[in-house]
Symmetry: C2
Subunit: 121 residues, 2 copies
DNA sequence: ACCTTGGTTCGACGTGTGTCAACATAGACG
DNA sequence: CGTCTATGTTGACACACGTCGAACCAAGGT
């Protein structure tokens, strides 16, 4: 079972579970490379529509939601698909087709890593 | 000429309350308004240069840094100023002029609030 | 086969954003 | 005053981004 496949933001550096992408933001100044990687995650959540979609998936029963369940965010359906793709490329969501519907779920380790970036000293 | 907008993400009420902007992303689907407000914060950190500047301030000795200390991020000085302004408008940094230099420091409550948004259920 | 429903991809358009050079402003100091 | 240093602002430009309609793909049902 491929629980992790080519996440563009997580280097397979440690067998650890919490995906140590980068140290907390207040530990030391980020290098250009760290910033490049990390900014992609924040940018993915930097759009209101994407934030609503992500929140809808994250809060949905069972930890997953099909597009039909969450596509009521005020934009056209192609736009929803576009944003879900962006969230997927950022490593924040994964998708799987089961029959007629496509189900999205959050990647908990990546979200946890983002939370740790913001840990207060 | 004081066009200093009120912090768009924090209501000026609690002394050191943890900025009750929004519930965790996984608690319930965000409303359009919540998403609009919160996305501004994530978007501010969604640029590599801004992320480096923010990290430089956050990790600097004494919790504050003057522009001259952190402006070595590979872009021109006006661009640095522009990004610092963006971070300030997002409520993530505050600035204060002391004599010749301008010092920036992080707004801990806002960062803490962002961390809580990503709290895993 | 055909059609219907769910989702993605494509092509285009308008807006937003990052960047710089040039200029402007604010103190410090003589 | 004038001048130097440290930051901020303005204007302009190229590029990225969000959005939509139309076309396309994937499964199921009839």
């Amino acid at each position: 079972m491929s629980n992790v496949k080519a996440l563009p933001l997580l280097e397979p550096e440690g067998p650890d579970a919490v995906a140590p992408c980068c140290p907390p933001l207040s530990e030391r100044p980020f290098t250009a490379e760290e910033a490049e990687r990390t900014a992609r995650m924040f940018k993915a959540l930097g759009d209101p529509v994407r934030l609503r979609l992500f929140s809808a998936v994250a809060s949905h029963e069972g930890g997953e939601a099909c597009v039909c369940d969450i596509s009521d965010v005020g934009v056209s359906q192609p736009t929803v698909s576009h944003h879900l793709k962006k969230l997927k490329e950022a490593g924040l969501l994964t998708s799987e087709r089961r029959g007629t519907w496509v189900y999205y779920r959050v990647e908990p380790s990546v979200v946890a890593a983002m939370g740790q970036l913001l840990a207060v000293r």
